[in-house]
């Protein structure tokens, strides 16, 4: 039964991809994508209850393993995939109407998005670090053509940078895995590349070799997570990809890569003591935050603005992981969920704005609140959620990360991070209010889509915001799962 629950999140999207490959995108298959995401979410929730009661489970000849952390990540993937795929049909229809896509593009889009989902599910369910690597590289391949979907010069350029930089980063991670395997073969009880085996035998890994391996692994998966200094692909890819893909990439793909860093850190802490990974992560976190702040201040493109804000939030995750206490890890996981929800709502909303105004420049959009109150409201509340205002869950998680940072002796780093977060919040609010307020431009613009938002898209946006707010008030049934996952990562269990 539980094995089936673990296979569903990988097999159902793969099946949906096969359907799109054979039957293509037509009225009958428009909602297959959203249905498959809903199944993934349902399976994730069932898996989470099961794992919370009965503990971790290994399946398929030891290749897959589900514990509280994988179940939590799977819930985040399912939830955000549901939001993004629910908004996809309306997005694709508008693109087709505007002549920027045709039925073939739509089929390929849906197919690749489903493969992308399957790869992400495989990444969080992989029992060994090698399979995780394969799945993460698989996400790059699946999304490459999604980023370049529009086939304009800038879209192809973004896709090229994305594949080259991410593949290089992930190649560094592969080197790290090989070295970790090498170190693990020379322990008294060789444990191979399984997470559990590596974590339990970490104490006897050769420190000098492990140190090189950990640096390569954190840099490599950090590339995919969009952390500085290997972030260069992120703003381009996120601003050129179609809105639902940006939502998925920013909302979950970055977090899946960060999940790999969290797992690696468990091994690093056990093998080298907590100081080593902590120092590395603090530097990366502050570099990411500083970079995001400096490039957000004068940002002129609202999709790039959202992309830099993703770098900021990945930096905050890295800071929380550096703190590494139980509280910090629980806050990091909550932050992953909260950021995923808020950012996917914002990217979907921004995609809507791009379709109705025809420009992605901040100064090209004026008086959105008067012309499209619903989109404007979602964007406004989304940005408020993003900068961590209560009741949204990012408030609770940022507070948790900051408290844990001060409590674990990262006082200076945390203080600097908070200053940068405030600067970023000010920049985000200024840019967004310029788009929302003011008088609408006279006469018909270059509007290419009808101004009223499709009901499903509106529902997805509002549902995402409500979920984020609800999560901020109480983690509810997620609470035990968060604590179990934090136990795994903080090394107390």
């Amino acid at each position: 039964m539980i094995t089936l629950l673990m296979l569903v999140p990988i097999a159902v999207p793969a099946l949906a991809a096969a359907i799109y490959a054979v039957v293509r995108w037509r009225p009958a298959t428009v909602w297959v994508s959203a249905a498959s995401s809903a199944v993934v979410l349902a399976a994730a929730i069932a898996l989470a209850t099961n794992v919370a009661q009965r503990g971790p489970h290994t399946a398929v000849a030891g290749l897959l393993r589900a514990d509280a952390l994988s179940a939590f990540m799977l819930i985040v993937i399912g939830a955000i995939a549901l939001l993004a795929t629910a908004a996809t049909p309306a997005h694709l229809r508008a693109e087709i109407l505007a002549g920027r896509a045709d039925q073939r593009t739509a089929s390929r889009h849906s197919l690749l998005v489903q493969l992308f989902l399957a790869a992400m599910a495989l990444a969080v369910l992989a029992a060994n670090i090698g399979l995780l690597w394969i799945a993460v590289e698989g996400t790059t391949i699946a999304t490459a053509f999604l980023v370049g979907q529009r086939r304009t010069r800038s879209a192809i350029e973004a896709a090229w940078k994305y594949v080259v930089i991410c593949s290089t980063g992930i190649a560094l991670a592969l080197l790290g895995i090989i070295l970790l395997n090498y170190a693990s073969q020379h322990t008294p009880a060789p444990a191979g590349l399984d997470w559990t085996g590596l974590a339990s035998s970490a104490g006897s890994l050769d420190p000098a070799v492990t140190r090189i391996a950990i640096v390569l692994l954190i840099l490599g998966f950090g590339t995919k997570a969009g952390l500085a200094p290997m972030h260069a692909w992120l703003p381009d890819a996120h601003s050129q990809a179609p809105a639902p893909v940006s939502a998925l990439m920013s909302g979950v793909l970055l977090s899946v890569a960060f999940y790999a860093i969290l797992r690696v850190k468990v091994i690093a802490d056990a093998a080298l003591g907590i100081e080593f990974a902590r120092a590395l992560l603090v530097v990366i976190a502050l570099a990411s935050l500083a970079l995001a702040a400096s490039l957000l201040l004068a940002q002129r493109d609202y999709k790039r603005m959202l992309a830099y804000s993703s770098i900021e939030h990945m930096g905050l995750l890295a800071l929380g992981a550096a703190a590494g206490s139980r509280l910090a890890i629980a806050a990091v996981l909550l932050h992953i969920a909260g950021h995923g929800l808020a950012k996917s709502v914002l990217f979907l909303g921004a995609g809507r704005v791009l379709q109705t105004t025809g420009t992605s420049r901040i100064d090209g959009v004026r008086g959105l609140a008067a012309r499209q109150p619903l989109v404007a409201g979602c964007l406004g509340f989304g940005v408020l959620a993003l900068i961590g205002l209560p009741p949204f869950s990012l408030f609770a998680s940022e507070l948790g990360i900051a408290r844990a940072g001060f409590a674990t002796g990262l006082g200076w780093a945390t203080a600097a991070a908070l200053v940068l977060v405030v600067v970023i919040a000010a920049a985000l609010v200024t840019h967004t209010s310029r788009m929302l307020l003011g008088t609408p431009p006279d006469g018909p613009g270059t509007a290419s889509a009808p101004l009223h938002m499709p009901a499903v898209t509106a529902t997805a946006l509002v549902a995402g915001l409500l979920a984020s707010a609800a999560l901020g008030l109480t983690a509810g049934p997620l609470q035990p799962l968060l604590h179990l996952a934090a136990d795994i990562l903080a090394g107390t269990r």
Binding site: T140, I156, A171, D206, Q240
Partner: protein, 220 residues
Amino acid sequence: MSQTLYVQLLDLACGALLLTAVLVLWRREVAVIIRIFALQGVALAALVAVLAVHERSAELGAVGVGILVLRAGVLPNLLRRALVGFPHTPRETRPVVNVSASLLAAAVLALIAYAVSQPLVALAPSPATHAIPVGMAVVLIGFFVLVTRRRALSQLVGFLLMDNGITALGFLTTSGVGLVVELGVSLDVLLAVLVLQILTSRMRAAFGDTDLDELRELHD
């Protein structure tokens, strides 16, 4: 195979690996670079074959054949296919770092590789692990090619050079990382190159050429 012969063959294969990496830095014609890359694939397969004979492992021998097909056959062919349609042979006309400086840089990178690899060799000294610095140097040279070349295809070769170096390290340290993972890794590299090859042809359709100097649309 006697121990001396094993060590000599191993060193020969590793020497060929490093030499081909340096040759990639030296030559400018993209077609020649691709041919050198195919030679490096042969050297890598030979390295695996030597290890397979030494360890009397049929599985490793099969992996060696797979590597020969993929890295000396399929990947260079994919790269060559991307060249078809150019009116004249493309050359790396203006690399960011010129050829003589690149060769000097390769020497420095080899020294760095040697220094970085010390703890790796010290963990389990053997003829195979003593060749680790060579693999590391190929990785670094590949990375160097990736960041200093402007032509999309030469960047691609840089990426593949890195990948050859990493694969070599995988076999030198522990005879590979398990068959499932090995297969997955090869498949992923193949797919990544396919994706990049399609993107290069689209880039040529959009930009007219694949000089990355043209990639100036997106910046802050």
